[in-house]
Symmetry: C2
Subunit: 145 residues, 2 copies
């Protein structure tokens, strides 16, 4: 029985994210597994402001989501995985990746050892929170800073 059947590749748009996709494809081939891609956009207003959400900020979020969808499609095409499902989510990176993995029945999350969507973002601030809440195994692919 293969160890994993559905790999969820968590990508940002850092220079090394292509290596994570390529590694995910290698693993999926070895296991005969499915692949899905996810990119999480943190809300603009979370990053930029603690104030009430203004309509123009909601517009900005929509634009960021559209931009992310376009970039994810281009990245998928570049790495030959455009036929696989892609998900762009907004919110907390950790929560969205874990939730999506559970919803989609992914059994391995593949991400970078550094970077905006790297394993660091799946870790809590306390020792007990480390990878707490992950519905499945997590592979940290080594990437340079």
């Amino acid at each position: 029985m293969p160890a994993y059947s559905h790999l969820l590749l968590a990508v940002d748009f850092s220079p090394n994210t292509g290596h994570i996709i390529d590694r995910g494809v290698e693993l999926a081939t070895a296991f005969g597994a499915r692949i899905s891609l996810v990119h999480v956009v943190e809300f603009a207003q979370v990053d930029l402001s603690n104030e009430l959400v203004m309509p123009q900020e909601l517009e900005l979020d929509k634009e960021l989501l559209n931009l992310a969808e376009n970039r994810l499609r281009e990245l998928a095409q570049k790495h030959g995985v455009e036929q696989h499902p892609r998900h762009v989510r907004q919110g907390s990176t950790k929560r969205e990746i874990f939730n999506l993995a559970a919803e989609q029945g992914a059994d391995l999350i593949v991400l970078g050892s550094h970077g905006r969507s790297g394993i660091q973002l799946l870790l809590g601030s306390t020792a007990n929170a480390v990878l707490h809440g992950s519905p499945c195994d997590v592979l940290a692919v080594r990437v340079q800073n």
Copy 2:
């Protein structure tokens, strides 16, 4: 080309460590990869005392190392991996696992998502130190607390 050729399984003696070995064996089979096992004993005097090392403490360390070697052999036998190389190291868990992976040319470290030898121990105390120094990819196998 298989993604990984040499898996280093980092085990402690928690109730779930057998699951990590079993998962490592599944993966090694899928990749046609080699397996090594490592257990790290942190020095007794580091845990128990900040004072100068006394001869009786060195004796205690030796006893702990012998105990660990015996337990690791029994664990390997129980999970059918007694033919694979086993390493018992003493010192910092993170440093010893990373050093051994580099020395042995391992290209995937497999460990638990919790526990004394879990991924938590490979993480530094600062964000930038996350998995810093790992010579290869790291798989965190989901285990219950």
